[in-house]
Amino acid sequence: MLYREAGQFKTTYAADQQIFPIRQDRIAVIALLAVAFVGVPLFASEYWFSAILIPFLIFALAALGLNVLTGYAGQLSLGSAAFMAVGAYAAYNFQLRIEGIPIMLSFILAGLTAAGVGVLFGLPSLRIKGFYLAVATLAAQFFIVWCLTKFPWLSNNSSSGVISTQKLIVFGYELDRPVEKYLLVLSIVVLMAFAAKNMVRSSTGRAWMAVRDMDVAASVIGIRLMPTKLLAFAVSSFYCGVAGAMYAFCYLGSVEPDGFSLDMSFKILFMIIIGGVGSIMGSFLGAAFILLLPIFLDIALPYCADLFGLPFSSATVSHIQILVFGGLIMFFLIVEPHGLARLWQIAKEKLRLWPFPH
């Protein structure tokens, strides 16, 4: 009843092409942003900021990056964590080695560095496809992490490559409380999410999707494969790089190369599978799901154990977590291969007709 676009006439091309064509959507997005920027900082506790909200936003951004590459351009990558690592270490080094560089600039430079590395490892995608490419991106994963551990210059000669990030100073103001970091991360993520949303509905995004659906056909209709694929790698790595920089600067404060492991790459991949491959919103939903699930299981499992009188050791709990994780991945792929985003879309379709479904 509330969600219906009847009576909303588009009289200009601009109105027809706008990012959220339905008024209710616009209101919902504005309301959501208002809650995120004003409501949440008023009410959330410190734990929520530093343990849930900040990592959620950061991983959502990384998932968004991978979604551009895998969901839109169709190039499966298993190395997203490595590109995050590049971002984190690049931001650290720019801060360290260039006197007085603003933190925002070093984030952007970190993203560009990651984009450069991404293009380098994206080059094989011009020759090889599918699973061969997925395995090839594993080369990036292992090689980059190894480099960060072994070249002491990259981590300013610290042992085993651990870096402690510098202070976050934005426009002369030091951000050290979780809520301030949250607002910084939120602003960056919102900006980049809108940028991505616009990118995928522009000609660039359409070219990506054409390449994803069938690259030979795409090249026949005049899409140049090389720039298109490499741009997807660059954009994706840029997003992952910025996410990595924020992961180091705003979330953990101190990171080591081994933290950006294959497991993390898989986690990001799962986020887009569960959230929805080829959907901007799906990246957020998936990130929320994957991050909240372990927390939920941590709380729920001991409770279940008490209920049934089963002795669960902490090892068993962690095994059950892995098991449920794997089970859910398979479940989602079977039941809804298009992820949570698709469920949301179905709900919207239903809502448009409600309460008279005919």
Partner: protein, 304 residues
Amino acid sequence: MNFFLEVLIGGLLSGVMYALVALGFVMIYKASGVFNFAQGAMVYLAALSVVGCLEKGAPLWLAIILAFVIMTLFGIATEKFVLRKLVNQPPIALFMATIGLAFFIEGLAPMIFGSEPRALELGIVDEPIPWILDNWNMVISKFDLVAAGVAAVLVATLALFFQYTRVGRALRAVADDHQAALSIGIPLQHIWAIVWGVAGFVALVAGMMWGARNGVQFALTFTALKALPVLILGGFTSVPGAIVGGLIIGASEKLAEIYIPPVMQDLFGGNFGGIEGWFPYVLALLFLLVRPEGLFGERHIDRV
């Protein structure tokens, strides 16, 4: 020179171990087009079930048979409850489902059989062969030779099975063309169940070999990561490719580990060990740039 040969032979023999895991991938990929990332986890499950049955007091032969039964049942269950429901999905979805399956096994197996690392005694000692040590002053492990022998027997058995049995012929038909196989009356779902059973058997052999070598522990799941570059080097669809790829990866990896770090140390200073972790991937990647379908893979022709 002796040292070089020793490293080379050691590398080749460890390559055989990689090939054992890679074989399982090839089996499933050939027959059903699924890139089964869970093969490493299946190796872990197989090794754990052998050890678990041994701990319950079963003799070795019984434990192996029981483990084989478990692996077969597991394979059939996977086919029935996961992959059959995903028929007609894009290959990427199937691949991701097997990643989920890998996690599922990694959670389930230690819950049943316990997660602490254990040794698996097969009665083969991992010590140098004295005769070669005396005559050529090279350390060649007895165990590695046995593993190579087992791999050879396994490959020969599989080849015979594929070539000369009724089921094997059906398997090859399915691998060639699903629809054609279906139309001449080959029951596709039975075949897939058999393939998963065979893959479980290969995982069992690999799991016993790896488990006897390094102990039965969670790290066994990483054998899959070792097998992937072997696969892309040899091609996903070729059994000989898996063997040759395994040998190349094994040998080059060990040689690189010995000879590259000193060079880099001279150039940059510092410690550059651990090249093994990525060298096979980069090697395979460079190789792919020249031959995108691997050594023995089928050449793909795209039609619009």
